[in-house]
Amino acid sequence: MTVKNAPSKWGRAKFGGSSAHLLAASLAAGVLLSGALGWLFMVLRNGDRPLLAFAVMAVFTLPVAAVLAWAVLVDRATLAGALEKPEDSVESAWYEKAASGAFTDILLVGGLGCAALSFLGTEGTAGPILGSVVAFAMLDFGARYLWLKKTAA
């Protein structure tokens, strides 16, 4: 393996080139994606300041869009420290157990929450409720994963 082809921190793209090429392509794709999201937000909201809406949404989604593009474009085999068989590692088993447990908890909490709202006759808006469900799912999964990791030590 030559120095040029050695695994690196940021890896190289599936289409070849250096890490710099991959990062540039990821940034360019991220700009396009965040620009599209900004445009969509501007059109759907149809507010008083469309350009401001576009700019704010585009700027705040750019980091995530660029990272997502990097994740899609990178060749895993070129990443330093990447495992050859991640599916056989214990971390994959932890992930599956934590995800399975979190799914069950979401069903339980969601079901009880719906029942409670029905009894109380309370109505809520979709955005905060769905956001709460996602936040709960992430926290639950994280806690379960960390517990499995701790008990394995």
């Binding site: 050859e84 068989k85 056989d88 590692s89 214990v90 088993a93």
Partner: protein, 68 residues
């Protein structure tokens, strides 16, 4: 499951990281298998047997159930 992974690895003079790199898995995977807290997948068990030039049955044995 009980296993003889630790002793066989020591016979080769390998570290856990060395064995993990050989198998393409994380060091934590080797730790968990050796402590009996994680049963490897069948492909991984076959790779382990190949690394130690033995059969899977020589590496892993069923653990005793409580009360038996």
């Amino acid at each position: 499951m009980e296993n003889t992974l630790t002793s066989r690895r020591s016979e080769l003079g390998w570290s856990q990281q060395r064995l993990a790199d050989e198998l393409g898995v994380s060091r934590q995977t080797i730790i968990s298998i050796e402590k009996g807290r994680y049963d490897p997948s069948l492909p991984l068990a076959f790779r382990l047997a190949a690394v130690f030039h033995c059969r899977i049955e020589d590496l892993f044995t069923p653990g005793h159930a409580p009360g038996k």
